[in-house]
């Protein structure tokens, strides 16, 4: 089975197709940016993008990603390590505390801004409403997403 993960082709034995996607990313591919906060699709900490759409890796199997583009947080920065403008905005706006929600939050916001690069603050709130954060109260996360939106308008 062929997957494209963060722009790289990855061949996965068919026998792994039924395995949990989150566990596979974390344990087999050492992509530990996606976190397990609930395991039942409620918190968003495990969010990854399939063809630019956010999915809950804890509720997917490896085969669900077959033939599609899978983006994890490790694949968002430039190959030279330069932060993506959205990541930079999270840093600059103080949107990160414990950081456990951050990878899922950033990817959810990235997918949202790709579709809607001129959002209102309440549209941003709706877009991230299924991603839980216990630390920040979301305010600086909304600030970060709002300020990064301009980079998606080009």
């Amino acid at each position: 089975m062929q997957l494209t993960i963060n722009g790289r082709a990855v061949t996965v034995p068919d026998s792994d197709g039924a395995r949990n996607l989150l566990e596979y990313l974390r344990e087999d591919l050492d992509l530990t940016g996606a976190k397990n906060g609930c395991g039942i699709g409620q918190c968003g900490a495990c969010t990854v993008l399939l063809d630019d759409r956010p999915v809950r890796a804890c509720r997917k199997i490896v085969a669900d990603a077959a033939g599609r583009r899978l983006l994890t947080i490790e694949g968002l920065a430039a190959p030279d390590g330069a932060l993506h403008p959205l990541q930079q905005a999270f840093v600059d706006h103080g949107a990160i505390q414990c950081g456990f929600c951050t990878p899922g939050m950033v990817l959810t916001a990235h997918a949202f801004l790709l579709k809607n690069p001129s959002p209102t603050r309440s549209e941003i709130r709706r877009a991230i409403s299924a991603n839980l954060c216990r630390c920040t109260g979301y305010q600086q996360i909304v600030d970060a997403i709002e300020s990064a939106a301009s980079h998606y308008r080009r």
Partner: protein
Amino acid sequence: MSEVNPPRAWRNDAVAKVTGRARYADDLKFHGLLHAVPVYTDHVHARLRGVDTAAAAAAPGVVRVITAADVPGSVTFGQILQDYHMLAGDTIRCHGDVVAVVVAETRAAAVAAARLVTVAADPLPAVLDPEEALRPGAPLVHERHGTNVINHHRVRRGDVAAGFAASDVVVEQVFRTSFIEHAYLEPEAAVAVPRPDGVMEIYGSMQHPFSTRRFTAALLGVPLADVEVRSVPMGGGFGGKDDTAAIVCARAALAARLTGRPVKLTYDREWSVRESYKRHPYRLHYRMGLTRDGRIQAVAVRIVADGGAYCSVTPWVTWRSTVQCCGPYRVPHVACDTYGVYTNNVFTGAMRGFGSPQVNFCIEQLVEMAAERLDLSPLEIRRRNMVRQGDTTITGQVLDTHVVSLAQVLDRVVAESDYEARRGRCAHGRADGDELYGIGLAMSYRGMSLGAEGKDFNSAIVNVQFDGSILLETGIHENGQGAESAMVLLLADELGVRRERIRYRQASTSVIPDGGTTVASRGTLMGGGAVVHAARALKEKMAAVLAPRLGCAPGDVAFRDDAVWGPGGARLTIEEAVREMWQAQEYPYAFGVFQGPQVTWDEATGQGNAYFTWVYGCQAAEVTVNRRTGKVKVLGMWAAHDVGRAVNPPMLLGQFYGGMAMGLGYGLTEAVTIDAGRIRSLNFDRYRIARATDLPEMHATIVENPDPLSPSRAKGIGEPTNELMAPAIANAVAAATGRRYCEQPVRVDAAELAGGPAGAEGTEPDANGEAPCN
């Protein structure tokens, strides 16, 4: 902050976290790693006759099944009473008790085998209501303790009988609060690695490395020096990653010791919620007497806290509630009795606020209920009674060592929220449409750090390297709040150097002395104090060596702009200065200690200087309540807090917003549902924390009155922000509906609203001491 470090959002771990590179405990791997999982029973209270591990031990991939019988050290431990059984022995005391740990080559194998463990147990009657637990003849949760009373704190001030006799009005009300889950986004996780030198090394998601070390050393029966706890990024704590998280680490270490291999023990959400301690539910029965002009004369209050099956820090939590039971008001006559009580519920312990959210929920409504009776405004009653400079608290402490800024924070929130104009729009149960509008506020003072709970000191090590780079370590733990970054900024500021020079060392319990736990909003205050003292010691040491080179006396050497200066412009770069130190065979190294000023406490009378400094805060909320659905929508939230000094403003604001959001959850949605001792809200589908769409835009005001008793002049902020939003919302809901809601969380029953406003009448308790709230 100085010129070389302009203020902007900065934290030392932000890039690692935003790129997914940060490694949390469950992200770590070691050669030969095994996986452990806990085994529970469905009992709530039972005599345990035996644990049958044979089938599990024979299951594929299983390496070992561990029970209490395998423990080389002490299976019981605790921070105050040694009553927690890290593996259940002859008794199961709550639904979260662990009877065995299964260790296997893979997590899946361990999970599968855990189902094969069986127990022989005889159910015992469970006691689930703390009031019942107090009655004679109630089943004892810990027979050896002899009673279900964990602790009884009191305040005796003046003469309450005389105070009530002198009162024109008495308001009386019973309030209740719920079990609250911390809901840190990362469940507990630990990796224990047995090292060839005999040391057990631990990487865990915990907020108290030294407590973790004590639990682990006790369970293994080894000296503290043989356990090294290393800090790794942690996905939130909020007070909740002390006992349980330490025990998870200790169990992983036990498994590593018994198998000789590294062991990972990662909790899933359900295990975490089932086993970990919660914020205490309280029942609080208040009576307050006032004169006609609205001056509080007397408060009598009885507080019963459900401590659950284990003591944890219940005596400390309930002590803070006792000290702060009257809110930030002058009260000449006070009688307070607070009981921490064992039950067979999940145990309760530290959570952000630590005994203040419960009392604030009540007292800040009670003063408004009194105001309604006296026809005073919510502002007027507060202004007539609140503590001001030089006033005396209910425990006899004179507030004169710092700026008492309660009036300042109240005025700021009133102005920022346009409170008085909005107050005029409140519906009080009457409106043309479906939406009832209300605004409410609440304020508090809060004793900083541990107070008379324990010895309060902390240390820091500053170690300048040969190339001018600097290593910093303190006894404060990074819980996600940005503690390390605050320490780095304070050091950079004090040394006058660029912060890029400074690296915060991965902390280890084998290097820095035990600085106590990173709770009680004490990180910046205590750790920052130690950093400032270490920096000053370093500067003194360097000045003595460098003064001759700069042609001046040591006292004239200045550290600023990333260099060392003599008067008249003589200057050494940091690199040159460090080389001079080496030439003189002097290490540019310093150890700094901050010892919290002495506090006093008399347990019999509840009098003393409970805390060495206090912080002041005020928050407001604006709501609408839908008359048809009962749904409460929060439209705006405001906060002003005196923080002493703002060290890292964007991170400070993050503490404001996060605390306010968690406070909204406390006010409106959060309560752990427990059914006969078994938690039902085990995951986020049944336990609702605030989402981005539940929250309005928030407005934060930082007030700075530098504290003379804090070396860095900063105080704490983590908890103050989390103790006021629930009563502010309750007051806003009361202003909207004309009804009082005395149970946390506030749940508005639309059917009741149809009856119109009820005011605060009929609040006298019945024969059982139960008062209907409306």
